[in-house]
């Protein structure tokens, strides 16, 4: 099992990915605060190690489904920052052409089957995607991201059971950040660790320090290997924390400033930087360069995205977008048999 901190290229990739996810969310936070983004945003600041460690355990053509708090999953899976930012800025050049917004960003070409505005909504879809991989013998694995809140939705239970009985190549990654919207996980669950629910469905579950990118990477890699070998699903519970409120309307009445500050002191990205320094794989300059690369990438993305035209308010275009046309080309969608 590779040690992410020890190999320079790998360490650099992990750092750049996490910092890019962080800067992306900070940019969204600022742009929203300025009134430039519509709707609301569900920020994943503080959860970067969970997204990055998980996605680094996947091959490029493996698949993921994501959540309403999905920007970091999207970044970690290799999405185009400009197209992500353009979507949030309601531009025609956005991933969804301004029709989906934050909660529906998908990059089907890179295996991201989409964020989802319904808590738990993507879990059965991930299981279906895994079923398709099994039926076609593609060898690909699907990761289903969801939060602690989703683990109480019927969709989770039905999907977990189906994945188990059919031995499907799916890894369930539960990002337990201790809160649904305002309900603390210890009030929503009578059990200590969500991972114990896997046993109820007959597959392994493990609880992991979701802010340790190495641990996440190792556990998800093991689960991915199991899935790829045809041995069925695993539940990996990444324990983490979100620094920002549930959404932009959240006044954080349900938690204390002290609690937030305590978690901020254990920044998962700073922790990994320390591991990299200890391993001696990158110099201080190289670590700073990784931070700067993320910042520069975001600034470029914002500049380019913002300059694009807004999605046109064309009713005919909207109506035309409802149904897929008969003779679509395979280029724009997943083609099962290459």
């Amino acid at each position: 099992m590779r040690d992410l901190a020890k190999e320079p290229d790998v360490a650099r990739h992990a750092l750049e990915t996490m910092w890019t996810a962080r800067r992306f969310e900070e940019a969204v936070d600022q742009l929203f605060a300025r009134g430039l983004m519509h709707g609301t945003m569900h920020l994943s600041i503080g959860q970067e190690a969970s997204a990055t460690g998980t996605c680094m355990a996947l091959e490029p053509d493996d698949l993921i489904t994501s959540t309403h708090r999905g920007h970091s999953h999207c970044v970690a899976k290799g999405a185009d920052l400009t197209r992500m930012m353009a979507e949030l800025l309601a531009k025609d050049t956005g991933y969804c052409r301004g029709r989906g917004g934050s909660m529906h960003i998908a990059d089907v070409a890179t295996g991201n089957l989409g964020a989802n505005g319904i808590v738990g909504g993507g879990i059965p879809i991930a299981v279906g995607a895994a079923l398709a991989q099994k039926l076609t013998g593609s060898g690909k694995v699907v990761v289903s991201f969801f939060g602690d809140g989703a683990a109480n939705e019927g969709a989770f239970h039905e999907a977990a059971n189906l994945a188990a009985v059919w031995q499907l190549p799916v890894v369930f990654v539960c990002e337990n950040n201790h809160y649904g919207m305002s309900m603390a996980a210890d009030e929503a669950f009578a059990i200590e660790n969500i991972s114990t629910r896997a046993a109820a469905y007959g597959f392994p579950g493990v609880t992991v320090d979701g802010n340790d990118v190495q641990e996440v990477y190792e556990m998800v890699s093991t689960a991915v290997e199991r899935a790829r070998a045809g041995r069925g699903p695993t539940l990996v519970e990444n324990v983490t924390y979100r620094w920002k409120g549930h959404s932009k309307s959240d006044k954080n009445l349900y938690r204390t400033r002290e609690e937030i500050a305590a978690w901020q002191d254990r920044d998962p990205i700073v922790r990994f930087e320390e591991a990299v320094r200890a391993a001696g794989s990158l110099s201080d300059e190289e670590i700073q360069a990784a931070r700067k690369a993320a910042t520069d990438a975001l600034r470029d993305a914002i500049r380019t995205a913002n300059a694009a035209p807004p999605a046109p308010a064309d009713r005919d275009l909207l109506l035309d977008a409802v149904y897929a046309a008969e003779n679509r080309t395979a280029r724009d969608r997943m083609e099962v048999y290459a």
């Binding site: 089907v108 909504g121 879809i125 299981v127 279906g128 059971n161 395979a330 969608r333 099962v336």
Partner: protein, 358 residues
């Protein structure tokens, strides 16, 4: 394995080598007609699709070993095996959701919900996921999934096993809904539904399963095309599903009295072929709309609205008449059940009255 294509419905991108995409037939094996029951017609069509298109698979509760609650899928498990004919746990959310995921990944799942009433258990996956993914993702994905469900009353199954919920789904942009009324249409619309890159819901009325009819081989009926079953000058009946047959029976009785009526079967609920309906209503000036589902906000209300908001309004000689199910849950006792939905005498009486109005 023949690859079947026509210019009317081109195949949607390169399919697997040597396999046919479900598409209409033109020439080739001419549509030799055989008498099949509606259930046999659906079964044969599913078998054809499983045989010719390796993207197709079916799943649902009790569809394998049991052969489906109404016997529609009998024999398919033995012929095609457990990978492609999948019995599932009782998990509507997962059944439909897995269908969504598999469809996004390029397969063509045909999932069965054991009773139309159970759509409610899977509503999020149908309405918030399947229907909207293509739009919300800016066209980057498609959900070519078919949901089949036995619908309707008449078997004494009572309130939670007897519904006709087509109106709920007609109201959801992104879905297509069909209600085949004959064995031929059951085959043809199912082929079209599987070929369609969008999610399609097929409501098969339970009382129709044993009905016999001529079914041409490889029959294909495009979505969005109504069928004019007979023409007459007195009035136009627009009826769906099991009400089509009842309307035709009523039409025979009325013909004996010298009242000749037109009967139109929309076949596809959404997208509706309103051009045909409006033309046939304009031709007679009198419209009688018949559905089994409860009256209030039922689908024929939409048809009525389309008639009155169009130029056809000026051709109307009388108010539009709707004959619908009662605004009540479906009762259990047989006489109560019959009284709850339009029957042939009700259609005859309503038509007679409409025809004789000034």
């Amino acid at each position: 394995m023949t690859t079947i294509e026509t210019s009317e419905n081109p195949t949607d991108g390169p399919g697997p080598a040597g396999s046919a995409v479900a598409a209409p037939i033109s020439g080739g094996e001419a549509g030799e007609a055989r008498e099949l029951t509606y259930a046999e017609s659906v079964r044969e069509t599913l078998a054809d699709l499983l045989e010719t298109d390796e993207r197709v698979f079916i799943m649902g509760e009790d569809i394998g070993v049991y052969g489906g609650a109404f016997g529609v899928t009998t024999g398919l498990l033995e012929r095609f095996g457990r990978e492609r004919v999948r019995d599932t746990p009782i998990s509507e959310i997962a059944i439909v959701g897995a269908g969504v995921g598999a469809a996004i990944c390029g397969l063509r799942p045909v999932v069965e919900l054991q009773f139309s009433d159970f759509v409610t258990c899977a509503m999020d996956q149908i309405v918030n996921q399947a229907a909207k993914i293509h739009f919300m993702l800016g066209g980057a994905a498609q959900v070519p999934m078919v949901i089949r469900a036995p619908a309707g009353s008449g078997t004494g199954a009572a309130g939670q096993h007897s519904q006709s919920p087509e109106a709920w789904f007609a109201h959801v942009p992104g879905l297509k809904v069909v209600m085949p009324a004959t064995p031929a249409d059951a085959a043809g619309l199912l082929r079209a539904a599987v070929a369609d890159p969008n999610p399609v819901i097929v409501f098969e009325h339970k009382l129709l399963y044993k009905q016999k009819g001529e079914v041409p081989r490889n029959h294909f009926v495009p979505l969005g095309k109504a069928d004019v079953r007979r023409r007459g000058q007195a009035l136009t009946i627009v009826a769906t599903s099991v009400m089509v047959g009842k309307s035709l029976a009523a039409a025979d009785e009325l013909a004996a009295e010298g009242i000749e009526v037109t009967v139109v079967d929309p076949r596809t609920i959404t997208p509706l072929d309103d051009a045909t309906i409006l033309a046939e209503v304009a031709a007679t000036g009198r419209a009688l709309l018949v559905q089994e589902a409860p009256r209030t906000a039922g689908f024929v209300a939409e048809i009525a609205a389309r008639i009155t908001e169009s130029d056809t309004f000026h051709a109307l000689k009388a108010p539009i008449v709707r004959l619908c199910g009662l605004d009540a849950p479906m009762a259990y006792a047989p006489e109560l059940e019959k009284a709850s939905v339009p029957q042939v005498p009700d259609i005859v009486a309503a038509a007679r009255q409409l025809a004789k109005g000034a």
